[in-house]
Subunit: 447 residues, 2 copies
């Protein structure tokens, strides 16, 4: 069903007071679509449209609602009404919601949960944001190794409704330490009388609760996993991270890096929902900071005022030279930042990449030099043409090497290479460009 049609159907159901019919009309609508349509309504109507669904669907649709809307409902709907939904949510989504509430709001909702759920929730919300622990779910399926395949399938059948996935089940020992993993595919393929023991992969890929979420996502992507088991310091299994959460992490980390390379701080909401004050705060810091970087370029120009006064024609080429230096730097910088983020290159690759970059930058420098030499001759004659062409070659090379090296340097000192953003590299390349240009001019023109 199309989105506008869906919203219209819901709206007219509300108006004609026939929301009880929705359940059958919209049986095949995906929970994600239903949730998206719900965001068009005010909380009271939204709540009415949500609660006509079967109980299990309510929790699923609620899980797909944007975080802000979930919080809004958690605050505005009474605990008694909300608690059945909260209890049915998957454990990681519930933990996400609680992380966004104030202490007071949490305290008011916690009594709605059973003791075991409460313990589980407190454990899940204890992990630092951005780690495996913060995105994992504790709704995974365990299977005892001493059963037959038939018995194991029976166990999964009983457990399935509460589990995030039953396509991978895990085997733990008495101390809850992870022993291995069994896929449902293998269970289905095996003779029903076989022991589960024989199907276990004893060397499963796993991650520690403290692993940064981007590394978790990279493991899942590399090994094409449906779910990655997460262990604590004692090698005990404490949760799983599923492929769909990994996909969200990949998107989110890429967005963060995009913003960082344009000197924008981490936004907690989408740019559409972000407030004016949030956008201002996330942008102003680097914008002001870079002003002071550019003062060096200004000072460079001031230092060479005499040269400039004698050859005003030199100024024509200033924007072109410093921009080319900055652009070449942004190119090689971005190549490195992205390749470091995806794991394509490592710190130790710096040397070989530097050697290659020298050649590429040399070629680019010569090309750019050829591209401007005619312009130089036309605007300023033979001498200026030579100065401009030679400077161009040099600044493109210098810009490229700065762009290549800065991300490695930051990485080396455990800072995020994405901070070596376009604007930062451009500012540094600008200073280098100004100094090189006027030094060469002063020297060659004999001033």
């Amino acid at each position: 069903m199309d989105y506008p049609v869906l919203v219209e159907t819901l709206r007219s159901a509300l108006e004609s007071d026939s929301t009880h019919l929705i359940r059958e009309q919209l049986e095949d609508v995906h929970p994600a679509d239903y949730a998206a349509a719900l965001t068009e309504f005010v909380p009271s109507d939204l709540w009415k449209l949500l609660t006509v669904l079967p109980r299990a669907d309510q929790a699923e649709v609620f899980g797909y609602l944007p975080a802000e809307v979930q919080v809004e409902l958690a605050i505005s709907i009474s605990r008694r009404k909300l608690s059945p939904i909260i209890r049915q949510m998957s454990s990681d989504e519930r933990a996400d919601l609680f992380n966004r509430l104030t202490d007071e709001q949490r305290d008011s909702l916690l009594p709605a949960l059973a003791h075991a759920e409460r313990e589980d929730l407190l454990r899940l919300t204890a992990h630092e944001e951005g780690t495996a622990g913060a995105i994992m779910t504790s709704d995974y399926a365990l299977v005892p190794p001493d059963l037959t395949v038939l018995e194991a399938l029976e166990v999964l059948r009983r457990e399935a409704p509460d589990k995030e996935t039953i396509y991978s089940s895990y085997v733990v020992d008495k101390a809850r330490q992870l022993i291995g993993v069994v896929s449902l595919r293998d269970l289905i393929l095996a003779p029903v009388s076989m022991q589960v023991d024989e199907l276990i992969n004893h060397d499963p890929i796993f991650a520690h609760v403290d692993m940064p979420q981007e590394e978790v996502a990279a493991l899942i992507a590399k090994y094409d996993l449906l779910a990655l088991p997460i262990i604590n310091d004692e090698h005990q299994m404490v949760g799983i991270v599923t492929y769909d959460d990994a996909m969200d992490v990949v998107q989110q980390e890429a967005t963060e890096d995009f913003h960082k390379t344009a000197t924008i701080g981490k936004l907690e909401s989408s740019v559409k929902d972000a407030s004016i004050s949030l956008l201002y705060r996330k942008r102003v810091f680097w914008l002001v900071l870079l002003v002071f970087g550019n003062i060096f370029s200004g000072a460079g120009i001031a230092y060479f005022e005499e040269t400039i006064a004698s050859y005003l024609a030199l100024l024509f080429f200033l924007p072109l030279l410093i921009a080319s230096s900055g652009n070449a730097g942004a190119q090689s910088g971005t190549l490195m930042v992205r390749a470091l983020a995806t794991g394509d290159i490592k710190l130790r690759d710096w040397g070989s990449l530097l050697a290659k970059e020298c050649l590429v930058a040399g070629l680019l420098g010569v090309t750019m030099s050829v591209a401007v030499v005619g312009l130089g001759y036309w605007r300023g004659g033979y001498d200026i043409a030579l100065v401009v062409a030679f400077t161009m070659m040099l600044v493109v090379m210098v810009g490229s090497l700065i762009g290549l090296s800065l991300p490695f340097l930051l990485s080396r000192f455990n800072m995020d290479p994405a901070t070596a953003s376009g604007p930062l590299i451009t500012s540094i390349a600008d200073v280098a460009g100004v100094l090189l240009y006027f030094s060469i001019a002063t020297w060659y023109l004999g001033l």
Copy 2:
């Protein structure tokens, strides 16, 4: 097993001529890790280490090898030896490999395949790169709707070894048109005597073969799907795209957009493996093109030569003003480019975002203006301070609005908004900055 240990084990097995023992030693090593370790060896050794594995594992490890290595083997190993592996590969990986071979190489390998595989391969490789058709696999499981659950599980058990996934099975009618989808989870949960018919989701999410791959990945991410069925013009089912391929697409598209925003063309290989000539070609185009953009800035400066000659102190602030304009533009441009790519915002949001941006840019402009007014007074006195502060406010606002609007403009004309890169926005903002600065100065200083 650690990567260096694994490589060492393989190396010593080769040296002591005991590769036949590897099979047991490395039973639990993941195929992805085995493949990664193999890339450390020359083709003949690689081949030796690959073919000691059981047949089914050979194809899986081969599938994890980097594309260049696959092609190298396809060329250097005789068809008779290679064909068993090629036959066992999953259909989408086989199609990828064939897409990278020359016509001659394809013709030499095709006879190695059975008739049905050959037909399938030709169908899969016929789709344009970057579409659903190009990344889908034809190894999906079909289940007839008129069976009981028990019978359906038996069908899946028989089909499983050849299928990419059995966790989602599809139901088609006599004309092979897609009717619905059944999850293995539902089959496992249902009573064995139930009809499959009752478990079918009749309104499955699906995509057309021509859908761009980034939209396919977005659908899979939005609905948390394991696999997305792909249909042709006649609504016939022709394949599925699985979550792991979608994850690769998300990574790859983000990388492409990163590179584009730094004016780097599409790289077919990782930056580590890219040749010098490839890197040069992908970078030189925009670098040269932007030179001509910057000529306008130069011309702007030349036009105001008289103003500059009278007030050389103005030059000190030139880099600072045009860089700030460019940086503000890069910030808002990047915010838009990324939000358009992830679907967070649509073309129709331009109006409301523009209104918000005007306020944010205004605040940023005022802040930046305050940040430089003291500097202006110190370097050039009261008049210059006023000119610089006023210009700063204006250029930050103008830069931001250019950055915001350009991606929408490109999108409107069906061009990729990522082309509205930092360097392009910076160049345009530079020109605006130069003209505004010297116009205001000329006017205010009464020249």
